[in-house]
Amino acid sequence: MEQANPLRPDGESKGGVLAHLERLENQTSRSRKRSEAQAQERVLGTKIQKLRHLRDDPRAALWHRRGSVKACIANVEPNRTVEVNEQEALEEKLENVKAILQAYHFTGLSGKLTSRGVCVCINTAFEGNLLDSYFVDLVIQKPLRIHHHSVPVFIPLEEIAAKYLQTNIQHFLFSLCEYLNAYSGRKYQADRLQSDFAALLTGPLQRNPLCNLLSFTYKLDPGGQSFPFCARLLYKDLTATLPTDVTVTCQGGEALSTSWEEQRASHETLFCTKPLHQVFASFARREKLEMSLVS
């Protein structure tokens, strides 16, 4: 059989034409596909670029910012030290003010404003020694009242308040200061007597809460043969640190020789005019002097 020749005309060209058409069709579809692919490629290409930009722009911005921040820090370093200095200065000022407020305690009367009034602080002292502190928390209302306080129960706070709190608050505070300072002073003297001069006492010191009645027995020469003295000190003025009445007697009740009588009388005067522990200090000094004279 003879094979069909695509280039032969008629019957032979039919196979040839169809095949040619097929070939052309394939060509077109191939080229179409090619151009589609190219178009898609282009689209994808642009998409990739866009994505790259999306990724790269923030990165760039970040780097840029880091760079500028670093530059800023380099500039800012000197400013931060200034801030630190200011802070130190403020802290110093604060410490100063705190110290001044604490120093107010030495005036004896200080206070701090509270949400409802004022909290008054009374610092007592005797002969340059700072003693206990007491507080009175006042509510500023009509009528003025005491909210709470740390004043000892045997100080007549209610009486003083009844007299002066509503009419003259300065007088109230002044009067209270007087009572508290006097009480602190008397207590201090009694404590000093008990602690420093126990050797001269022949019995325990009798005292009451207000320290306004003291009684004790003492000897000028602890080991010696002399008679002990009995002293009874009454402080009828609660605003004073010296007694109002003093009685010194000789234990034994026998008639005293004139020298003993003189001594007894002089002791009475001493207790009336000098603080208790100072009187005993002078007794102790005298004793030492006499001892040194003897030896």
């Binding site: 909290c119 602080c121 928390d137 740390s150 129960v153 045997f154 207000l210 306004n212 009645l213 009828k236």
Partner: protein, 319 residues
């Protein structure tokens, strides 16, 4: 002379007993001998006082003179422990031949007294003693509840005379804890004071709320909870409450009702009832009522006034 000065002097002189009047006036040394001689001290006290005021006016007494008189008249308590003990014991022994009295002094200026009571014919019963704690130079004493009530007036008398006071009054305050009674009576239960040295009084308070709740609910709750905390803190403070076991209210009031025709409201006589709150620690329990949501804040002043008024037994009547 200022009216206030005149009033002050008048009140001061009225307080002086007649038998001491001349001595004190002499000690005052403001009115002269001649002036004092013109006064008839045998009259009624009011007339004497009037005459004296008149003399003070003539001499133009100042506030300083009045203050000086006040100081001289001051009734200073010169408490002597020995004297007190002797006096107390004597009074009881004079009234009841058979009585055992013992004393013990403690550091806080308190004297503990134990009294075993007998009668004229029977020996003291040592198994039912009464204990008294007296704080010298204060007007307060604490007594244990005793079954032998008939001796209470005598005990009161002994305390009054021995401590040189004028009268004794029973307070409506009872507890098993002497320290708490002391804290309330001497008003020492709050010993925190604001000073410039202390730390800031305002404290951050964590309300312990559930963080998983809807944030809107928490906000509303926070406002109310903070309000309750603030009111509770203002009423009860930050300090530990003194310990009481009871609060008792005896009511004699008319029943108040909104409902018309309520049987109870129509009564003419007041209603009598007794309400008693009891707890191992009553004041702490009251303090926790509002924060726990059991009661509204602020609590009734009848409950919150207990430490301030120094009573936990109340009688309430209609005014």
């Amino acid at each position: 002379m200022d009216e206030t000065v005149a009033e002050f002097i008048k009140r001061t002189i009225l307080k002086i007993p007649l038998n001491e009047l001349t001595t004190i006036l002499k000690a005052w040394d403001f009115l002269s001998e001649n002036q004092l001689q013109t006064v008839n001290f045998r009259q009624r006290k009011e007339s004497v006082v009037q005459h004296l005021i008149h003399l003070c006016e003539e001499k133009r007494a100042s506030l300083n003179d009045a203050a000086l008189l006040d100081i001289i008249c001051e009734d200073v308590d010169l408490f002597d422990m020995k004297q007190f003990k002797n006096s107390f014991k004597k009074i009881l022994q004079r009234a009841l031949k058979n009585v055992t009295v013992s004393f013990r002094e403690t550091e806080e200026n308190a004297v503990w007294i134990r009294i075993a009571w007998g009668t004229q014919y029977t020996k003291p019963n040592q198994y039912k003693p009464t204990y008294v704690v007296y704080y010298s130079q204060t007007p307060y004493a604490f007594k244990s509840s005793s079954t032998l009530r008939r001796n209470t007036p005598l005990l009161g008398q002994a305390l009054t005379v021995a401590s040189k006071h004028h009268q004794i009054v029973k307070m409506d305050l009872r507890s098993r804890y002497l320290d708490s009674l002391k804290a309330i009576v001497f008003k020492q239960y709050n010993q925190t004071f604001e000073t410039h040295n202390s730390a800031t009084p305002l404290q951050e308070r964590s309300l312990g709320l559930d963080i998983n709740m809807d944030s809107r609910i928490i906000h509303e709750n926070i406002v109310e909870k903070e309000r309750v905390q603030r009111i509770t803190q203002e009423t009860f403070g930050d300090y530990p409450q003194p310990q009481l076991e009871f609060a008792q209210y005896k009511l004699e009031t008319k029943f108040k009702s909104d409902l018309n025709g309520s049987i109870l409201a129509e009564r003419e006589e007041p209603l009598r009832c007794l309400i008693k709150f009891s707890s191992p620690h009553l004041l702490e329990a009251l303090k926790s009522l509002a924060p726990a949501g059991i009661a509204d804040a602020p609590l009734s002043p009848l409950l919150t006034c207990i430490p301030n008024k120094r009573k936990n037994y109340f009688k309430i009547r209609d005014k």
